[in-house]
Symmetry: C2
Subunit: 130 residues, 2 copies
Amino acid sequence: MSIVVALSKSERRTRIMDFAVEEAKFRNEKLIIVHSLFGGSRTSEEEITEGESLLKWAEEKAKAEGIDVETHLLVRGKEAGDDIIDFIREVKPKMVIVGVRRRSPTGKVIFGSVPQKIILNSDVPVVSIR
Amino acid sequence: MSIVVALSKSERRTRIMDFAVEEAKFRNEKLIIVHSLFGGSRTSEEEITEGESLLKWAEEKAKAEGIDVETHLLVRGKEAGDDIIDFIREVKPKMVIVGVRRRSPTGKVIFGSVPQKIILNSDVPVVSIR
């Protein structure tokens, strides 16, 4: 089986990956790291480059710890929450790991809408890292 | 260390306890099961009896699987979300397990406000079971 990590450009990405690597080691599972973008006119070249470099960073972090890892940049014309829920249904992992804290434009800590959607709709347990 | 389970009268209680027992076995950790009520004039005798019987049910389920378990009915004049966050800060578990789905009065599936508060404020990973 596997552990899916839904990764975004959050300031918490290191905290999330550290936990994911620890769990993958402990459970002896492969990590599947995903980042979702809508695509077409709603996604810039810059967002794609940033997504690729985020996944590259995460892949290297996992490999350095000897973890079996694959990454997927999902660009399928779907909202991120729906896209990741569909991905989870396809992959059937043991669990999903998400970051939950976002900053609003005024700097307030809020509960991201993408993790909310994943938590409420995933068929497998979702581990939230704040 | 330990795993804290924030349990409520949810229809998902069996699913939540099954996962908690599996994790406690896998990680060789004790289960600490909590149910929070405000107390005073805001809590009825019936709610206390129901809380006690919920915890009794969960304790027996864990013991039947050979899991080390303790239960706490928290009645400390605090809103459930704040109460459980304070409890987590006191106990410092490895992780927390919560159920997330509630039914609104019209039958719609909604994200419970107590799990939302726990997920957004817990210092340790929170596993959501829907």
